[in-house]
């Protein structure tokens, strides 16, 4: 299965990211990770999400990270101490996740609850109610349009926040 191969590749990429201390390389690998993620999403039939992930994860995020790296000019230093506590925390979280997901429906199980509650209305009634073929657009902009208003506000918050943090003082600009 192509999805599994891609997933293993992603895991490998992340492994290299953990090992590497070259920040430039890590950022590029992060971009590759996002592209792999986008491909997996296409394989999982989530085309809208894939398109966004490719443009945001591999595009905007990478550009922003490279820009910030240029401004900071940094290499990662060796850690001063062994990260035992983070390791224990991570293992504990992994334990809870494994415990939890083992009870989930199997991959691509058509009997799973999520395919039988709420969603059928989106898929079956959309033609009469909204008449937009792309169900994702319809749910995004209409059924759950309020979430998207919130999402737009989040983007606006980030934009205004970056202005508040990075705008130069008037004095600095003229000199």
């Amino acid at each position: 299965m192509i999805i599994n191969v891609l997933l293993v590749l992603m895991a490998f990429t992340v492994w290299v990211i953990i090992q590497s201390r070259n920040l430039f390389g890590v950022i590029v690998l992060g971009g590759i990770y996002s592209f792999l993620m986008a491909t997996v999403l296409v394989a999982m039939d989530a085309v809208d999400v894939a398109m966004t992930e490719a443009s945001v994860g591999a595009g905007i995020s990478t550009v922003l990270l490279l820009g910030a790296l240029y401004l900071c000019r940094s290499e990662e230093a060796r850690p001063m101490h062994k990260p035992w506590l983070p390791f224990i925390v991570s293992v504990a979280v992994a334990g809870v996740l494994v415990y939890g997901t083992l009870g989930l429906p199997e991959f691509s199980d058509p009997q799973a609850t999520i395919h039988h509650h709420v969603v059928p209305r989106y898929l079956n009634e959309i033609q009469q109610e909204v008449d937009v073929p792309n169900v994702v657009t319809a749910v995004l902009a209409s059924y759950r349009g309020y979430d998207t208003l919130g999402e737009t506000t989040v983007v606006f918050t980030a934009g205004a926040g970056v202005i508040a943090l990075l705008r130069r003082r008037r004095k600095g600009r003229s000199s």
Binding site: G30, A46, G57, V136, V139, L140, L165
Partner: protein, 124 residues
């Protein structure tokens, strides 16, 4: 049952944990944000993977298809992606300001600078 049906979940968990580990274990402020990004993106799989149906197609209605993957997680994750990039932009802006104020983006060094400064203030 376990190995076949839950493989995606296990990779997802690995990615999540790797991201989380990077965030809390590393001292470099940019590397932390990269870890945070991986942690957030891996959650996409937790939502999207269960919505996929083998033999189905993307949820764009057309008379040729009858089985579609579940569109609701797609909508949620679109929102999550946007939230992720918004957080990243703010985080990086903060890192740039920190670098200008402290001349380093290593957490240990910043804390050292701060505690040295603090004792200085207290003695004077």
């Amino acid at each position: 049952m376990i190995s076949g049906g839950h493989f995606t979940y296990f990779i997802t968990i690995f990615l999540m944990i790797a991201g989380l580990f990077l965030v809390i274990a590393r001292g470099n402020l940019i590397k932390k944000l990269i870890g945070l990004g991986i942690f957030q993106t891996s959650v996409y799989l937790l939502y999207i993977a269960p919505g996929k149906l083998v033999g189905g197609t993307a949820p764009i209605l057309s008379p040729e298809f009858t089985i579609y993957s579940n569109p609701l997680p797609h909508v949620l994750i679109l929102t999550a992606i946007v939230v992720g990039v918004a957080t990243l932009a703010l985080g990086l802006a903060l890192v740039v300001r920190i670098r200008e104020a402290y001349d380093t983006i290593e957490e240990d060094e910043i804390l050292a600078v701060d505690s040295a400064h603090e004792t200085e203030v207290q003695t004077t």
